[in-house]
């Protein structure tokens, strides 16, 4: 039986996952606001499930330039990797937004690695910690690592992934101090982890909704 990754979750499971990610990203915005000292604007994240090949194709199609990624491994009931990805051209922009923009270029370049790792760490940890807490599981996360390359490099990190691996793809726009920086969060997991995630999402949906009746208008 063949199925596309988007069929692997039901509509309500995907809705629940999107909501968890939305809460995680919103909390990260609050943390980033503390760090930056200016309001951080975020778009509503869209979440899709793709095969590894599709995810690579999507990034290759949308982003022509080289990419930067902050990478962390998570382990627990669900195991995989999380990446915050954006175009390399936006990376110094992000550092300027975070440092306030009045630093000379050489300082910015020097700070780039650290600022990227820190931003990635805040965003990724916030998403993963929210998902873990709300699914009532714990996840162990590795330290952030900054990578440069293409989608193909990021999605093929050793140990070699399996053909059936699924990429959970999130697209968010964030803007700080009028600088528009858009990025992607990708979580790569294997099928056993996705199966575990489905069960945890079902339990979460059960806890969150109980047995609610239909509303009085027709929106179901």
């Amino acid at each position: 039986m063949t199925s596309t990754p988007s069929d692997l979750l039901t509509e309500l499971q995907l809705d629940a996952l999107t909501e968890l990610v939305n809460i995680g990203v919103s909390r990260a915005a609050s943390s980033l606001r503390e760090m930056v000292g200016a309001q951080v604007h975020l778009s509503v994240p869209t979440v899709t499930l793709e095969s590894r090949a599709q995810a690579i194709a999507i990034l290759a199609e949308r982003e022509i330039s080289n990419l930067v990624a902050v990478h962390q491994v998570f382990e627990g009931d669900i195991t995989g990797r999380a990446l915050l990805i954006f175009p390399e051209t936006k990376s110094l922009e992000l550092v300027r937004a975070i440092t306030g923009g009045d630093l000379p270029l050489e300082d910015i370049i020097e700070l780039e690695q650290e600022a990227l790792a820190e931003t990635g760490n805040i965003l990724l940890n916030s998403c993963l910690a929210t998902i873990a807490n709300m699914l009532q599981r714990s996840l162990k996360m590795s330290l952030p690592e900054v990578l440069r390359g293409s989608a193909a490099t990021f999605f093929s990190l050793a140990p070699p992934p399996h053909a059936g691996d699924v990429v959970m793809f999130l697209f968010i726009n964030f803007a700080v101090r009028e600088r528009d920086i858009s990025g992607y969060i990708a979580m790569i997991m294997d099928l056993p982890s996705l199966t575990a995630l489905k069960h945890l999402l079902d339990e979460f949906i059960e806890r969150a909704t109980g047995e609610a009746t239909q509303p009085h208008n027709d929106l179901a």
Binding site: L12, S26, Q39, V40, N217
Partner: protein, 127 residues
């Protein structure tokens, strides 16, 4: 007396979860649901409601913009804007509009306190 709650959230799960909490807290209340600001506004123009619970981060107009529109339509309606994004600009804007800010995930306790206060305001208004 039973009131009608308007729930606006782009997440169906979040609407279901709020509906569950409402059922526990005020089983005799009814509710209306919408998944975005435009839908909520056209619904609000047709059907009266007493209290509203609005998600902040939604595609299209956000919950604070919607809150302002709803208040223009029905001034002094008790409204809450819900978000995990508690940046002071957002909490401050909610306060300025006259909406209550509630943290996401919505706890039954915080939701209950908001509804209790809403009931008090509605009863004062009706007296």
């Amino acid at each position: 007396m039973p009131y009608k709650l308007l729930i606006v959230d782009d997440s169906k799960l979040a609407r279901m979860s709020a509906a569950k909490a409402l059922k526990t807290l005020y089983p005799d209340w009814t509710r209306l649901e919408a998944s975005n600001a435009d839908e909520a506004l056209s619904l609000a123009k047709e059907t009266p409601f007493d209290v509203a619970l609005l998600d902040f981060n939604m595609p299209g107009r956000d919950g604070l913009q919607l809150a302002a529109d709803l208040l223009a339509l029905r001034p002094s309606t008790p409204l809450a804007v819900v978000s995990a994004n508690h940046q002071e600009e957002i909490v401050g804007r909610a306060r300025d509009i006259g909406a209550v800010f509630l943290s996401k995930p919505l706890s039954e306790q915080a939701f209950g306190a908001f509804l209790q206060d809403a009931v008090r305001r509605l009863e004062l208004g009706n007296a």
